[in-house]
Amino acid sequence: MKRRALIGCAQCLALSGLLGPAASRAQGSWLAPPRFERPDVATDEGGLWAMMDREETRLRRSPFLVRDAALQKYLQDMACKLAGSHCPDVRVYPVRTPFFNASMAPNGMMQVWTGLLLRVDNEAQLAAVIGHEIGHYMQRHTLERLRDVKSRSAFGMFLGMFGLVGLVGQMATLAGAFGFSRDQERQADQIGLALMRQAGYDTHEAPKVWDNLRLELAAVHGGDPSLRNPLFASHPGSAERGEKLRELSAGDEAGYVGEAEHRRALLGLQAQMLEDELKRGQTGETLALLGRLIERQPERADLLYSRGEARRLRAADGDLDQALADFQRAIAVGSEPPEVYRSLGYLLRSRDDAEHAREAFGRYVEKAPAAPDVALIKSFL
């Protein structure tokens, strides 16, 4: 236990940024701690593991778990490449949730949300996030946070006894806890980069994850939420993370990117991921995301349809014209989803073009005779 703590502490120093970018780059040969033994259940760490074990049992039965054996294997193999000797202890679960996120529990359970899978352009970008999560695991950050929160809450309660002055002290304690979390995030970013390097991934892809996320955050209703209250943000801003990762990867040689492999792994899941993204009803963010994806893959009819549908539903100035162009382009490209004809029909119907609307609805019914809304569509014919 003491040995592990010592190794952990040595990594903290090496990766905390105190040694500067050049020294951190030398951590390409970063020494991971040895595999963890299951902690004694009577300890706080053992209790945390037991809690996460129960959560993992629940997750295995969860209807939100993506039961796609090929995708599960793809993610597991990738985590193994990054985790090295810890591979047998890391278990990856893809979870159907349309938000950008991944998480790692101290017992080795990792969740990768479908919103993240949709947003990364290639395997190297996904490796940057999975590597980051493995970094948290290897540094046992959750345990550190648990202990930090416990000590801060006791201290905060003590301060609370001193009225207004104590309240200010409590706020400072809370801000300190978030600061602690931000340091952990920075450390995990750097370990993730080291793991990418060791596994042969192209580290120049890591900052792009945050650049892409910034585009979407800028389109969030009311502006980038991370800029609103930076004092209490538990994560460093995406601009800072992108810049730091760019700086740390600047001297690295190009490595494995894996764009085609990533696309292949997600093939069976694309339609559902795009549908879930549309259902969020957050058009600004969705359009920022789809615009970026279409720039990379302009011939994908499903992306064109989704962007057109997001615009049709928003129906702001100029949206319907652009939606019409996207639908027509999707049909011209080919392999279009049947829903494109339904959306085209609705768009034309809203413009009182009854004849062409009927034609489009007819194509939809022909291509998707068992669709749940066929009875309504038939009433338009």
Partner: protein, 196 residues
Amino acid sequence: MKKNIRARLAMLAFSLLLAACAAPVTRVEVGEVTVGKRMAVKVDAAWNQFGGGLTAGIPTWTMEGITIDALRFYTDVKDGQTFGPANPPKGRQPLIFKAAMQPADIVALFQSLQTQDGSSFTLDKLEPTEFLGGTGFRFEYSTIRKVDEVPLKGVAYGRVRDGELFLVSYSAPRLVFFPRYQSRVESLIRSVSLRG
């Protein structure tokens, strides 16, 4: 499986207990009741009506408890008004109703509201139907609530009349409660009329 679902429902009920304490609950008596400004509903059995924060300002009735089944009335939603809670969480684009919306667009609004917390939503059926004395639409849907992973089934009737949206939805756990109340709820919804 049923035991598991019951345990989760109990957990959810407990976690919402404190909030529920603050929410005013009133009994909806048998007879004709006005919901919103002018929606007249013929009630054949007593319901509980919740108000306050739990329902985000949407009149909500329940038979078994708000964490189990919920009959919601979205009434008098005018062109340009927010659909659902009047004050959506910060950073969330409000769901705006437009009078020119077609049934599928209104279903899309409804599903965006249901999936805000990561819950799933599947449209099972969408069809034209008589509602509020004219042609409206009826849809059935399935959701899995993210917070406790309970599968729910739902049905809703909607219509845009004189540029205003009226939509009544009912949802309950799929296996027991939804089939128990579906026909009673649907006849209640079909009985709804508008005053004035």
